[in-house]
């Protein structure tokens, strides 16, 4: 269990993290969401004991990070922002260095190395200096380094940054696979990642915690939650007004890029519109090309919350 209490970090005049409190339990994959400079990385640096908080405290499995950083670091794997690694070392030499520091010896070390190399698919670059690797491989070396000792707690700062869609998918699957009975914290500004891997999301802006919930709970706060996207087969006149007259519809917007035949119908208070709309279309005898229900959009919520903050 990670417990963060009233965590604050000030750099001179600037407050990077402002009175942040939350708990994370084993089995949870927590996503840190927030605009650049929101304090995500700074929070992670304090959890991992790289920097000292100005105020407040962090404990991991009941060990206070400030008092005993080494004990915490021993049960933790950390991928720092940008996946730094010793560029002049080969991938294999680097991973062996990390394995030694992690106290892995003999057969155990060989097995863990083999496992990790397979998990993140580093086989083709083992003998290459890290400096010469593509961004994707470099990031995966960073991941391998973080999971080599099968840590109880995994802190990953932007783990999929710089990866192509296939690699992103693969890393997300890897994280999901690792997550059982572990604590995982990832930071990201890719919102789809949160729905894809996280069991819980925190939205942070200007060092403050703005929202805390499951991804689908957050989606529900979006104005797109239960909205209906409707694409008509033919053009009609005054469609927008006519649609707007249906019960429980708050507003209707034309989705511009799809000509004048596609509309987004927003419900009042997230009510279910579908039966009503289907009945209405049936009455009108309008042909429909496509109709679907929106779950809600995280980026809506994200913008709503973080903008409100800055204004």
């Amino acid at each position: 269990m990670i417990r963060v209490q009233n965590l604050t970090k000030r750099f001179d005049q600037f407050t990077a993290v402002n009175n942040l409190s939350f708990d994370v339990s084993p089995g949870e994959v927590l996503g840190f969401l927030g605009p650049n400079g929101a304090g995500k990385s700074t929070t992670m640096k304090m959890i991992t004991g790289f920097i000292e908080p100005s105020d407040g405290m962090v404990s991991v499995c009941d060990i206070n990070v400030s008092q005993n950083p080494q004990a915490v670091q021993a049960i933790m794997g950390y991928l720092p922002e940008g996946a730094p690694a010793y560029g002049e070392m080969t991938v294999m030499a680097f991973l062996e260095f990390i394995a030694k520091v992690r106290g892995l010896t003999g057969d155990d070390r060989q097995q863990r190395l083999a496992k990790v190399i397979e998990q993140v698919e580093l086989e083709p670059v083992l003998d290459k200096p890290i400096d010469t690797l593509s961004k994707g491989f470099a990031r995966r070396v960073g991941l391998a380094q973080a999971i080599i000792h099968d840590p109880k707690v995994l802190i990953l700062d932007e783990p999929t940054d710089g990866l192509d869609p296939n690699q992103k998918h693969q890393v997300r699957e890897l994280i999901k696979g690792l997550a059982k009975d572990k604590i995982v914290i990832i930071s990201t500004h890719i919102l789809e990642e949160v729905s894809a891997v996280c069991s819980r999301a925190l939205i942070i802006s200007e060092g403050k915690l703005l929202l805390d919930g499951k991804p689908d709970e957050l989606e529900r706060q979006s104005r797109h939650h239960n909205a209906i996207c409707l694409q008509l087969a033919d053009e009609h006149t005054d469609v927008q007004q006519q649609l707007g007259a249906i019960a429980h519809i708050e507003s209707v917007e034309c989705v511009a890029e799809l000509e004048d035949r596609t509309f987004m119908l927003f419900p009042q208070d997230g009510q279910m519109l579908l039966p009503e709309v289907v009945r209405w279309l049936d009455d009108k005898q309008w042909a429909v090309e496509n109709i679907h229900l929106e779950k809600g959009r995280l980026d809506d919520v994200f913008r709503q919350v973080t903008r409100a903050q800055t204004v």
Binding site: F11, K45, T48, G49, F50, I51, E52, Q70, A71, Q73, A74, M76, Y78, P80, E81, G82, P84, A85, Y86, G87, E88, M89, A93, F97, I98, K100, V101, R102, P129, Q145
Partner: protein, 247 residues
């Protein structure tokens, strides 16, 4: 914060590995060997002196070290901060003390290697005459201890900056101060001060300490001085690391 030999050794190995990862280390050692030869033969008049000892060789070590040791030490911490690998290093369960000592030892071993490779000087003098090998051994040990003090200062300067060149320059400056504090010109300017203070300032100097050692006198006080310098500056290194953490 406890010392762990195993962790220290792992850090040292990695640092040594990074020294020799590029040809720079070999070029560096070669330069050191050539210059130490040039200094002893041309400036020290090794032949002309006609003495079967290595004083002509050892006398220039403080001046050689003034530029060579900062160059070895500048890469200990500054690039780690520059490249961000310090975040990796400091979040591995290594412990600051072990990281500081391990890195320093790598630099010290590297300097020791360069020093050992000057053995042809010893062979030369042994071939030409009948030197006192005890004096020469004492000279080597003293020289290596002095190198360690330079490197410890360099370690501290390297942790203070992200820029290796800045670290290099500051190390040269601080080492220079510790050298000239024993020169008569500097000591004369303290003529107004009580004798005990002048003795203290002279006692801080690498030159004063090394002179005795180069002449073959391995005084326990001089050895203690060099070890104390190393311990002190490595302690400062750790203090600076801790400060960066809390900044």
């Amino acid at each position: 914060m406890t010392f762990n030999m195993n962790m220290t050794a792992i850090v040292m190995q990695r640092q040594l590995h990074s020294y020799f990862a590029t040809p720079i280390a070999y070029v560096f050692i070669l330069m050191f060997l050539v210059l130490s030869g040039v200094f002893s033969f041309y400036l020290g008049h090794f032949y002309e002196k006609g003495q079967a000892d290595l004083s002509a060789f050892f006398n220039f070590h403080p001046w050689l070290y003034l530029f060579f040791m900062p160059a070895i030490a500048m890469g200990l911490w500054a690039p780690e901060r520059q490249m961000g690998t310090i975040e990796l290093l400091m979040t591995l369960p290594i412990g600051q003390t072990n990281a500081v000592i391990g890195k320093f030892l790598a630099a010290w071993v590297f300097a020791g290697l360069a020093l050992v490779l000057t053995f042809p000087m010893w062979l030369t003098v042994a071939y030409l005459g009948d030197p006192d090998n005890g004096v020469i051994a004492a000279g080597y040990i003293g020289s290596w201890l002095m190198a360690g003090s330079f490197l410890a200062i360099g370690s501290c300067m390297s942790v203070c900056s992200k820029n290796q060149i800045v670290a290099f320059i500051f190390t040269v400056v601080v080492c220079f101060i510790f050298m000239v504090s024993g020169v008569p010109m500097v000591l004369d300017s303290f003529a107004w001060a009580p004798q005990s203070m002048i003795d203290f300032i002279a006692g801080l100097s690498f030159l004063t300490r090394f002179d005795a050692i180069a002449r073959g006198v391995l005084d326990l006080r001089d050895i203690t001085y060099f070890f104390a310098m190393m311990a002190l500056w490595l302690y400062f290194t750790q203090v600076m690391l801790q400060r960066n953490k809390a900044k």
